[in-house]
């Protein structure tokens, strides 16, 4: 087996969760950056949020530009940690549906594995609710693909995944997290640009389309940018409090050490 387990750093896990919970109407996806050790354990240190270039239900594609910018992110992370980092897997979300990969997912994963045996796939299932018990559920799984025999259908195989504690949020993870509003806005701009280039539309239709753009951007700001900003402010305050308490601890311990 090419991969024995996946260790997902908790701050990368945080970004994945943020991303998966950002929308319940479509699947989101991203790439995982990290390294593989000599025990065939894949360590995921960070993730990159991707744009869905093709939002069709039956397709999961990553454009060459995105792969290239993912590679750039890897180099940055490598620089910061002093260890070689690369794209080691991908993740996507399954809102309202089962966490298991679909046939398309399994085939896509198999395709990535052709380039890199150690490539892993993560799926986050969210917005699930058991109406009877009013229990909400978020699930995540890790898988690879295997072909029982040559020419037969690909099947998924399960890979153990553990979320590894990481008490502070890494710089790369924070930067990935704040990319989401930017990516959403970019997608909206691209769509609008195409619409805007249609010359045969009458003024009323143009006004309508402009309003749709405005409305969508407002949705993004209130549903994503706003809560993100609030969370960042809360985190900042929490950190400041922690630092104050830790400083007190430090003083106390220093005194204790001095008296020994």
């Amino acid at each position: 087996m090419a991969v024995s387990a996946v260790h997902l750093e908790s701050d990368a896990f945080l970004v994945c969760m943020n991303h998966a919970l950002s929308t319940e109407k479509e699947e989101v996806m991203g790439l995982c950056i990290g390294e593989v050790d000599t025990n065939r354990i894949v360590h995921i240190h960070s993730v990159i949020i991707l744009r869905r270039s093709d939002k069709r239900k039956d397709r999961v594609e990553i454009s060459p530009e995105q792969l290239s910018s993912a590679a750039t992110e890897s180099y940055r992370l490598a620089d910061m940690t002093g260890r070689p980092m690369r794209v080691v897997g991908w993740y996507h979300s399954h809102p309202h549906i089962t966490v298991w990969p679909s046939h398309v997912d399994v085939r896509t994963q198999a395709m990535y594995q052709m380039m890199d045996q150690g490539f892993v796939g993560l799926i986050f299932s969210c917005f699930i609710e058991d109406k009877n018990t009013k229990t909400g559920r978020v699930l995540y799984t890790c898988f690879q693909s295997v072909q029982a025999q040559k020419g037969s259908e690909y099947e998924r195989i399960e890979i153990p995944i553990h979320v590894v504690p990481h008490e502070a949020i890494g710089k790369v993870c924070l930067e990935s997290a704040v990319e989401l509003p930017r990516i959403l806005c970019q997608e909206e701009q691209d769509t609008y640009r195409k619409i805007h280039s249609l010359t045969h539309l009458d003024p009323i239709t143009k006004i309508h389309n402009g309003s749709v753009f405005t409305k969508n951007l407002c949705s993004q700001m209130s549903a994503v940018s706003g809560p993100l900003l609030q969370w960042l402010e809360d985190r900042l305050e929490q950190n400041r409090q922690s630092v104050i308490e830790l400083q007190l601890d430090k003083e106390r311990l220093t005194q204790e050490l001095a008296t020994m």
Partner: protein, 432 residues
């Protein structure tokens, strides 16, 4: 509760809607993932009462009281038992120390547990009653997160239920996570409704021109884009501040950890010296085996060195909970991720509630989780060694047929609510 106007409503039939932002939810998951024991904290937010009036055919208006609970953020507790003791007695002073001026915003509290029933434990109920009184929130809510995994740890589920335990009926409330929903890009129109009227074309062109600037771009678009840009700039700048604060926190945490280690080393040195002095004065034949002079702390150091780039594995604000790595050193020394032993490698980062029931409380389904060679959950401690054995994967295809019928989708479909309150699962699940 005071009745309002002519409409009569009952306290226990009001509907409740509750929401939490995806970012707050993820943050709780993040704190929980960093905790090797149960994790708990407070929910801050706002409760609104909205009265919905509906007029039926008979012209008799009936009103329903809608209670809307919005969780704005959470205040995580650094450790368990920070505001209550083993008997569940809440200490108001400790509570105030944790909450400070946020006390007035508390609308509930939450608990994260691993491998337990979705039911409030006895101690949690006791604590809840006291918090209700102390905080003066009659409808204080309790959010329970429970975490379960398949035997091979490839799939994990985080289940969450929001309780309002102070009510007699409808104690469980749906918790929604507002999100972007549909980005509605389909709402753009790609063609105009055909119209040959010249008047129509003239009027809309003349008056519609107000909306556009000289480049033919809608003014609103420029304006909203500016709003977006300003907001993103602010997000970026606060993010920068957060990043700095994370690094500062990490640094001070490391210093605190170093000091603690030094103190332990110093203490050990002193006891060693005292013992040597004693032995020199009273020589005795050696009955005990050679003492292992390597304190677990140095192995902690080496583990810390492994887990670069940033924080040590289990800093912990105070010395009370034994470090996760220390606990593992009692079990198996070769748990370093880069050790030569491949099967133990997966053991290290699996945070598990210390003393948590390895076996779930008896229930018809147990945790009956799908896939993996041994569907009976709760044997994780023993199973872990076999988890990463590669032969498991080859067995997987044939295993599907061997699974007990109930386990098929338990993980996905969830477990039925326990009918009776659990024993105090949190006693076993908590840190000592």
């Amino acid at each position: 509760m005071t009745p309002r106007g002519a409409s009569v409503y009952r306290w226990d039939v009001s509907i409740m809607a509750a929401s939490i932002s995806g970012y707050t939810f993820s943050s709780v998951c993040y704190h929980s993932a960093n905790s090797n024991s149960d994790h708990e904290g407070f929910l801050l937010g706002e409760v609104r009462h909205e009265e919905t009036v509906s007029i039926s055919d008979t012209q008799i208006s009936s009103s329903e009281l809608l209670q809307v609970v919005e969780v704005h953020n959470h205040e995580p507790c650094a450790q368990l038992f920070s505001f209550y003791d083993y008997a569940g007695q809440v200490n108001e002073e400790s509570l105030n120390r944790i909450l400070k001026d946020r006390r007035k915003n508390v609308i509930g509290w939450y608990r994260f547990r691993r491998n337990t029933q979705q039911q409030m434990s006895f101690r949690e109920q006791i604590i809840h009653k006291q918090l209700t009184q102390l905080l003066g929130v009659p409808d204080l809510v309790f959010l329970l997160f429970s975490f379960i995994s398949t035997a091979n740890n490839s799939t994990h589920a985080l289940e969450y239920v929001l309780f309002r335990p102070n009510r007699r009926y409808n104690q469980r409330v749906t918790l929604s996570i507002p999100n972007l929903g549909n980005t509605s890009q389909q709402e753009y129109k790609v063609s105009s409704v055909p119209n040959t009227s010249l008047n129509y074309a003239k009027v809309i062109k003349e008056h519609g021109a107000e909306f556009f600037d000289k480049d033919g771009v809608m003014k609103d678009i420029r304006t909203i884009f500016q709003v977006y840009g300003a907001l993103q700039d602010k997000v970026q700048s606060v993010c920068g501040e957060v990043e700095q604060s994370e690094r500062v926190k990490e640094k001070v945490q490391e210093e605190v950890n170093k000091l603690k280690q030094q103190i332990v080393l110093r203490k050990r040195k002193t006891t060693d010296e005292e013992r040597r002095l004693q032995e020199a004065q009273n020589p005795e034949p050696r009955l005990t085996p050679e003492e292992n002079t390597e304190p677990p702390e140095t192995s902690l150091l080496s583990r810390v060195a492994f887990h670069t780039p940033s924080t040590p594995e289990r800093p912990g604000p105070s010395a009370n909970p034994p470090a996760y790595a220390d606990l593992l050193s009692l079990q198996n020394d070769s748990l370093l991720p880069f050790s030569s032993s491949p099967t133990s490698a997966a053991l290290l980062p699996r945070p598990q509630a210390v003393g948590s029931p390895g076996h779930p409380s008896p229930s018809p389904l147990g945790l009956g989780l799908s896939a993996g060679p041994n569907p009976a959950a709760g044997q994780e401690d023993d199973e872990e060694d076999d988890d990463d054995d590669s032969s498991e994967y080859e067995n997987l295809v044939s295993e599907v047929g061997q699974l007990p019928p109930v386990s098929a989708s338990v993980l996905l479909q969830g477990r039925p609510a326990a009918l009776s309150p659990d024993g105090d699962a949190s006693v076993r699940g908590s840190q000592t």
